[in-house]
């Protein structure tokens, strides 16, 4: 162990203040880890120079896997030899991010032996991030993790680690079993996750209701968002309780309903369910009185992603409703067709949402064998530049 107390005047400022400090975390890992200490030193340099000191990652990994490790090298490695190589391991989290204390300790022990002792709980995609180690440690870490029942997550042009909201485990609004679907799909695509087969990354997230507590619509190529088909379940007496407890049902519920399909006459709450767009607002406000309907399932949405490179996209409706018990099969069948199409027509580094944008949704639907339906668009086209096909094939 070199010097236990690196000089970090700037970073020390970030130990002050009430919010828990990441600097304290690095220092605490530094008690047993030289790389955590050098990380702190390099970070201090970055704070002084207002500049990162990591070089472009190289290809590192474990045997037989094409992903799961992010290679990272310092550009000031001579100065901070313990972070000269500082690769990150992505470990597939348990669905819903549930743990026992033992599971946590097992992970800690492995990581203390093989790496910096620093983690992210969790990465933005959902993985357990084991932050920083050297190439020779990768394979041993991986094998110890495997022995403990853990496996690596995705990186590169692969099926990325799916994630899901807490769903049925602790939420009364779950319209399908998100944790289970997330787990089943993760297991179904181990090969696609570990041996990158795609033109670019493919993400999948499961939110069990339209509140979308995993930001699926914004961050996943396939977003599976729970919803229901039938009528909102109303407990009349609970409605009355809310009203007498002082909730202004007209103002706080009815007036904020996006389709104005609710009516409150001071006694009874009426809902025109066929106008309801399943936004969740009324249910969110009155959880004891209102609940999603009983005909539950999910809407499948496609194409969500960050800005690079054609601009950010929110996912858009692909299948407006799939019943809960048909979700696994339907999603698998669709993924097969989507990936085939993407494989054939996608450019290098082109997310599936960008591909759809480039070739057009109608062509994509043709490709995956779905019929166009009005639910897929916010409105039909407003420009008259229509590529009539019948005419192209000859007059009809």
């Amino acid at each position: 162990m070199p010097d236990h107390k690196p000089k970090t005047e700037l970073l020390d400022e970030l130990e002050k203040g009430p919010w828990p400090s990441f600097v304290k975390e690095i220092k605490s890992a530094g008690q047993t880890s030289a790389s955590a200490q050098d990380l702190l030193r390099q970070l201090e340099l970055s704070y002084q120079e207002k500049k990162g000191h990591w070089k472009h990652g190289g290809l590192v990994g474990v045997l037989g896997y094409g992903g799961g490790v992010i290679g990272r090298y310092s550009d000031v490695g001579e100065q901070f030899p313990n972070v000269a190589h500082f690769h990150t391991i992505r470990v597939n989290q348990p669905a819903g991010w549930f743990y026992t204390s033992d599971a946590i300790r097992t992970l800690c022990d492995i990581w203390e032996r093989h790496g910096s002792g620093l983690t992210n709980m969790h990465g933005s995609t959902g993985d357990i991030i084991l932050l920083g180690t050297r190439t020779p440690e990768l394979e041993p870490t991986f094998q110890e993790l495997a022995q403990a029942g853990f496996d690596l997550g995705g990186s590169g042009s692969s099926f990325r680690t799916p994630s899901c909201c807490v769903g049925m485990a602790r939420c009364e609004w779950a319209c399908y079993d998100a944790m289970r679907l997330c787990y089943d799909l993760t297991m179904a695509y181990q090969d696609e996750m570990h041996r990158p087969p795609f033109p670019y990354k493919f993400k999948l997230k499961c939110a069990a209701c339209p509140n979308d507590c995993v930001a699926a619509i914004a961050r996943s190529d396939l977003s599976i968002i729970g919803t229901w088909k039938d009528e909102i379940q109303v407990d009349e007496s609970a409605v009355t309780e809310y009203a007498s407890a002082g909730l202004n049902i007209q103002k706080d519920v009815c007036d904020l309903c996006p389709t104005k399909c609710m009516a409150w006459d001071g006694h009874k709450l009426g809902i025109e369910n066929h106008e309801c767009v399943r936004c969740m607002h009324c249910i969110n406000v009155m959880p004891k009185a209102l609940r999603p309907g009983k005909g539950r399932g999910a809407v499948l949405m496609i194409g969500g992603k960050a800005p690079i490179m054609q601009g950010a996209l929110l996912s858009s409706v692909l299948v407006p409703f799939v019943a809960a018990d048909e979700l696994l099969d339907t999603v698998k069948e669709l993924l097969r067709r989507i990936w085939d199409f993407w494989d054939e027509y996608g450019n290098n580094r082109e997310r599936v949402g960008e591909l759809i944008q480039r070739v057009g949704l109608p062509a994509f639907l043709d490709g995956i064998g779905l019929d166009p339906i009005p639910e897929m668009v916010s409105a039909p086209r407003d420009n008259p530049y229509i590529f009539y096909q019948a005419a192209k094939d000859g007059a009809k």
């Binding site: 970030l14 919010w19 204390s101 599971a103 022990d109 933005s124 009364e172 936004c279 690079i308 950010a312």
Partner: protein
């Protein structure tokens, strides 16, 4: 390959979640009836069976040492039968079957420096990225920005007094690892100089790939010292860094010109209004570590103005939509500049195409 070596374990996937579920959760899985918010950071979920599970939520810096994780494990053993989880925003949750343990757990968490809160209409933890801790692309540090912003917003985490949920995110470059593009408030690291092309391109950097990587077509083939290379038409570069992502010989970092931009009004949930992107509030603030005072001031300003003017249940974007963007700029005092006007692909769709004007 010898038949005697133990087979190497691969492709086993993650552990099955059931192993980690509290027995009370396993019993009532999918049978929850409703929930109550007992206090900031404390929830009670009631099952059809009448069972109740209590959740205590604490903020974390996300970057956690094994030492700290072990402390969490010990707390779980002490208070929640060893069961804990993390949330989609990197908070820590303990799952209790006995309400009597809530208060002692809270006190111990607070004493250890982990604030209890982040539920309901509090500001929850900031979703963020690697920054100078681990990424080569970063224009700023994410963890540092989170720390100073949350220090300033601490009371907003431990109290639930905002009109609605308010989600903040930080990303250290335009790759936006997280949901910065759909956050109530987002802090985004930006470069402001074109890549500095290194004299010789490594072999992995293929010229056609590089040209295809540029969203604005700013990259042109060139021959440098007799070798195939590229140049960048500086007027066409908007510093997205995508060329650097595909080729290490195009670094973007620049101490003086890197900095932050602030975005507002995005959301993800379908509650009331449709999910929507965050929009530009401040195009540039300087990178000013360790405490980024300009950034923190701007965020606090937005939160305060929002807290004061928004109606109940109005997310930031819904509030601005109601009062109009001109008023948002008035109320915050932020300057409206040429940069606020979109000039990318669908720019023309953002021009104000009605005579609906407020004075």
């Amino acid at each position: 390959m010898s038949a005697t070596t133990e087979p190497r374990i691969t492709d086993i996937g993650p552990p099955h979640y059931e192993k980690y579920l509290h027995p009370l959760i396993k019993k009532n899985y999918g049978q929850w009836k409703y929930h109550e918010n007992l206090a900031p950071g404390v929830y009670c979920h009631v099952a059809e069976s009448g069972d109740r599970i209590y959740t205590v939520r604490a903020g974390t810096p996300r970057l956690l040492s094994v030492q700290t994780l072990r402390i969490f494990a010990d707390l779980a053993d002490k208070y929640s039968g060893g069961y804990l989880r993390f949330t989609s925003r990197n908070n820590l949750e303990f799952l209790l079957d006995d309400p009597v343990r809530i208060e002692p757990l809270k006190q111990e968490l607070i004493a250890l420096g982990y604030p209890v809160g982040g539920t309901n209409n509090a500001i929850s933890n900031i979703v963020h990225t690697q920054g100078w801790i681990h990424c080569h692309s970063s224009a700023t540090d994410a963890s540092g920005l989170v720390k100073c912003t949350m220090d300033a917003l601490y009371e907003r985490f431990t109290h639930e007094d905002l009109p609605a949920k308010l989600r903040i995110a930080v990303a250290c470059c335009l790759n936006m690892c997280g949901a910065v593009h759909c956050s109530d408030i987002a802090i985004l690291g930006v470069h402001r100089l074109p890549p500095k092309i290194q004299p010789t391109l490594p072999r992995v950097c293929e010229v056609p790939t590089l040209i295809a990587a540029c969203p604005t077509g700013a990259i042109r083939p060139a021959v440098v010292d007799g070798k195939h290379s590229v140049t960048v038409v500086e007027q066409q570069c908007m510093y997205c860094g995508n060329c650097y992502t595909v080729c290490s010989a195009m670094p973007m970092n620049d101490a003086d010109n890197d900095g932050l931009s602030i975005w507002v009004g995005g959301k993800v949930s379908n509650a009331r209004s449709a999910p929507t992107f965050s929009k530009l509030a401040i195009p540039f603030l300087p990178n000013n570590p360790p405490r980024w005072p300009e950034v923190v001031e701007a965020i606090v300003k937005i939160v305060d103005v929002y807290a004061k003017h928004a109606r109940k249940y109005e997310r930031v974007g819904e509030w601005i939509e109601r009062i109009g963007w001109p008023r948002f700029f008035q109320l915050t005092g932020f300057e409206f500049t040429r940069y606020h006007i979109d000039d990318f692909k669908h720019a023309a769709l953002t021009y104000a195409r009605s005579a609906h004007v407020r004075y």
